[in-house]
């Protein structure tokens, strides 16, 4: 089923509202990091990925790995809205005894491909999946979503060199480039820029885009492989806390928890109430 861009934007707004609620309810952090990647998740799950919520273990499905595991609330809300499990379960997020932890655990819900939370693992896991596809003659694609801070990890660049050496054109690395890591500007903590050039220098076909422009995201992510014969990197420029004016580009929201009033304000801004 094809969705219009405005329908996708509307789904993204609903997911953002849910994520803000989840953070308030569970008093769980990383809200800003979750909000920055929602448009990427929606473009991937509603437009690009070949996945069927009724067949989450289908061997030929496309794989999506949230390598930036601290955006757990975003992937959980996305999977629930997509129909992998009942939305009610989201209310248990990060509460005692819930299967929904603050970083996603192994096989915690249908559709969750890999446990993450320690940065710099997801892309390598995804490359292993892509190699398996080649051995087993299955043509699925593998998408990994990384944070900009995650690109500090050397293992990301080990993975980048390996994927290029093997021309893994079914692998996509999307960097949620929200310009912040936990305690500082991601371009100041390490020399991250020029990030697109780095991926190109490592042998990838690299794109740079506004990570909140649904049209552009859909255009790029629905064109994999892109014909270059190379793995694809998407440097998605985003805003931490996107969608809620008083959270945008304010790194306090890496750890801050919204009050009840702030939840109401956020949902009003998102047009949900």
């Amino acid at each position: 089923m094809n969705y219009t861009i405005s329908e996708l934007e509307s789904i993204a707004k609903s997911i953002r509202g849910k994520i803000v609620e989840m953070s308030h309810k569970s008093r769980a952090a990383h809200l800003g990091s979750s909000l920055s990647c929602v448009d990427i998740l929606v473009a991937a799950y509603w437009a690009a990925l070949s996945v069927d919520p009724k067949k989450p273990s289908d061997p030929v499905r496309d794989r999506f790995i949230l390598s930036k595991g601290h955006a757990a609330s975003a992937i959980f809300a996305t999977l629930a809205f997509k129909g992998f499990f009942p939305k009610d379960l989201l209310d248990s997020y990060a509460t005692a005894g819930s299967c929904l932890e603050e970083h996603p655990g192994p096989r915690c819900v249908p559709g969750l491909e890999a446990a993450t939370g320690s940065l710099g693992h997801g892309l390598s896991i995804g490359i292993g999946m892509a190699l398996s596809g080649r051995i087993q003659r299955r043509s699925y694609r593998v998408f990994a979503l990384l944070s900009d801070g995650e690109c500090n990890e050397g293992s990301v660049w080990e993975a980048a060199m390996f994927a290029a050496a093997h021309s893994l054109e079914n692998v996509v690395a999307i960097v949620d480039f929200n310009k912040w890591q936990a305690t500082g500007r991601s371009c100041e903590v390490m020399a991250l820029q020029p990030l697109k050039d780095k991926w190109e220098a490592f042998g990838w076909s690299a794109y740079e885009t506004d990570g909140h422009d649904m049209n552009e995201l859909v255009r790029i992510l629905t064109n994999i492989p892109d014909g270059s014969g190379k793995p694809v990197a998407v440097v998605a420029h985003t805003i931490k806390g996107k969608g809620v004016s008083f959270m945008e580009d304010d790194n306090n929201w890496h750890y801050r928890i919204p009050t009840q009033e702030e939840v109401v304000m956020a949902k009003k801004e998102l047009g949900l109430i």
Binding site: P106, E113, G128, A130, L131, S132, I135, G154, H166
Partner: protein, 307 residues
């Protein structure tokens, strides 16, 4: 041991199309046979062990049975977090093979020694630790590891070690193999020191101490049935390993023993000290330096036995 590994991987890959071999830019020519027959299932992953380990996890998630191989410290401590999170947390059937256990590569210096690997991997949930005693056990252990649905760390020596087993013994992960029968002392040997343990037992026999030797190839899960019987039967039980006295087989047995009712035997542990080896020389020389020789093991057991 590594030639036995290379030969057995070819046989197993023939039998099971899920078998995949990942090498960390090591084993020049060692895997030529595998590469020739299964070119699409061999990957030289370069000097990038973290990526290699996570890729193996991704492959196992898709139903394959990956085996990663490089020199022990680089396939264990270098990528410990990838083993912990991607392999063990997900409880995946990845086989991690470390070549060059203990002081196998003594001459290459401390960077290439591996006397802490059992201790570090043993504490990871879901992990099995298997240390074959000779080339025969390497083949059997690899076969058993591939049948296992959980992570296995396979700790190999180098090449051309003495072969202890004249024929294939029954082999099961978690079950020790009695190699020499005796009645007074029981030597539990894990990994590449098995020939040394057998020689030590001969020396002890000459001194009138009847000595049993067990290839205690699996450090985790511990063969507690065998341990219970050994501590009830023998006057002394000794662990023998080319690994630190901290946290290896000796450490595991001591932990287990402290939870048991007081038995009749005492435990004596042989292993490497809590220090790095700083002097050049081959494995035999290094073993002499740290006291892992048949003569030293025999002498120490006689001394404790006569206390």
């Amino acid at each position: 041991m590594r030639n036995a590994l290379a030969a057995e991987i070819v046989a197993l890959a023939q039998e099971d199309s899920r078998t995949v071999l990942l090498s960390g830019d090591i084993g020049n020519r060692l895997f030529d046979g595998f590469k020739k027959r299964f070119p699409d299932r061999f990957f030289n992953c370069g000097v990038a062990e973290a990526n290699m380990t996570s890729m193996a996890a991704g492959m196992a998630m898709c139903g394959l049975r990956p085996i990663t191989y490089t020199i022990t410290p680089f396939n264990t401590t270098r990528c410990l977090e990838q083993i912990r999170v991607d392999v063990c947390y997900h409880n995946l059937p990845v086989i991690i093979v470390g070549g060059g256990a203990g002081l196998s590569y003594a001459g290459l210096g401390g960077t290439h020694h591996a006397c802490e690997d059992i201790a570090l991997l043993r504490v990871l949930p879901n992990m099995n630790i298997v240390c074959p005693g000779d080339a025969v056990e390497v083949r059997l252990a690899l076969r058993a590891a591939l049948r296992n649905d959980s992570p296995v760390y396979l700790r190999l020596g180098k090449k051309n070690e003495p072969v202890v087993h004249k024929e294939d013994p029954p082999f099961e992960i978690g079950k020790g193999i009695t190699v020499v029968k005796g009645t007074d002392v029981c030597l539990l040997s894990t990994g590449n020191l098995l020939p040394i343990a057998v020689d030590a037992a001969s020396l002890l026999e000459e001194q009138g101490v009847s000595t049993q030797v067990v290839s205690f190839h699996t450090v985790k899960p511990l063969d507690t049935g065998l341990l219970t019987e050994a501590f009830e039967t023998f006057q002394m039980v000794a662990t023998v390993e080319e690994h630190s006295l901290l946290g290896g087989l000796g450490g595991s047995v001591a932990e287990w023993l402290s939870d048991q009712p007081r038995g009749k035997s005492r435990l004596c542990r042989f292993g490497t000290p809590d220090s790095f080896v700083h002097r050049s020389g081959d494995q035999e020389n290094a073993r002499k330096m740290v006291g892992l020789t048949p003569e030293n093991i025999c002498g120490e057991i006689i001394r404790v036995f006569n206390e």
